[in-house]
Subunit: 207 residues, 2 copies
DNA sequence: GTTTGTGAATAGTTTCACAGCA
DNA sequence: TGCTGTGAAACTATTCACAAAC
């Protein structure tokens, strides 16, 4: 099933598989079957096989998937092998937590710059970067920064998104619960924490 | 199209609609058409109409949806009208940010308790709650707490999830990148921040 | 024996087009 | 005229079953 449009859902699961593979590799394993990987990650084995099949032959029948090459392949597909740099805008409670967040490094991400409006924060050092004045945010392209993380209050979200696009950002991770308009070439992924919590009660048993 | 199984994707969008409706209502509007609500939220009008149609007649042809009753209805469907209480486990960087997070209140949530393992944090006050000893986490049912938020390091996630289930929690919002096993009656929603960032480069233009 | 890769079948979701109502 | 509600069509994704590979 090669030469196909890759389903979005498959792309969404690739980081899940990648993390599972890295986890097992660190434990010293060489290979893993779709069944065991599925058990570890809470998905179905045929889902894993189908997903991988879109990209070519990843595995060996009778054996499974070789972890090291699996990791290399997924990293390449997701373009994580280049070591992506991100800029954080908004160093409030959430922003500060993101600067200290250990999870980004695992995928080769680095928060290489941080900006805020608050004069008291500008110039301060947090998690290895000096907080800059948001008014001076430009030309991130030259510094090799292609990703933007927005962690500002709701009402300034669109403004910040515009600034990031002008500065040459190509992808945005948005923690604000507002819909933002950007050129089609820029990909936005929104994480709305409260919204995810909000659909939990719907699924909970009544008593 | 009444008396139907509600698609998961529809449930996922209900909080989006709810927020949009609240936003417009606060601006003094009475009613909104599916078209205008769609423009505000970045979805398609027919999607909104289809989603609402699963629950009965929400709107008025020629006019649109009455905001106040729309808000009331969605709140009821999502069971947010009861005012849900949550317990936070793990008061590190992310946990602290969540305690200070203003977004939960909008949906009627309250973080009514917080727990940690760190002896230095126990007893301290953060965002209106006193941090308790995680070893003493039990009987949340009596305090009317049904939701759990997990913001602990990866390797203790399953352990914490088990504790929460034992304490009577019915829904879990999990910020840890591990798959957790819980009884089928307990609903888990996982927010994996690094993972969402990890699929961003795939969608970004190459040069 | 075990496990992959994949066409075909099934399930789920989005989009359309338009009848019917205010 | 403007807008909702909805069956039907189109599209997308998941699940199955099994031939082929190790």
């Amino acid at each position: 099933m090669r030469y196909h449009k890759i389903p979005d859902e498959t792309v969404r699961r690739l980081p899940v598989y990648l993390r599972g593979a890295m986890h097992l590799s660190q434990q010293g394993l060489e290979s893993i079957s779709s069944r065991h990987l599925a058990d570890l990650l809470g998905v179905k084995p045929w889902q894993i096989r189908k997903d991988f099949s879109y990209f070519g032959d990843f595995g060996t029948p009778g054996v499974g998937y070789h972890l090291e090459s699996l990791i290399k392949q997924i990293n390449k597909i997701l373009r994580l092998d280049a070591g992506q740099k991100a800029v954080l805008v908004g160093v409030g409670n959430l922003g500060s937590a993101l600067l200290a967040f250990p999870g980004f490094g695992m995928y080769g991400f680095e928060i290489a710059a941080a900006f805020d409006v608050d004069k008291r924060k500008i110039g301060r050092r947090r998690g290895g970067v000096v907080i800059g004045d948001i008014a001076k945010l430009r030309n991130l392209r030259r510094r090799g920064i292609c990703l933007g993380i927005i962690a500002v209050p709701e009402d300034t979200t669109q403004e910040v998104a515009d600034t990031l696009v002008d500065a040459g950002i190509k992808g945005i991770l948005n923690f604000s619960p507002r819909y933002i308009t950007v050129p089609k070439r820029v990909k936005v992924i929104t994480i709305d924490i409260a919204m995810d919590l909000a659909r939990l009660p719907y699924y909970m048993p009544l008593s």
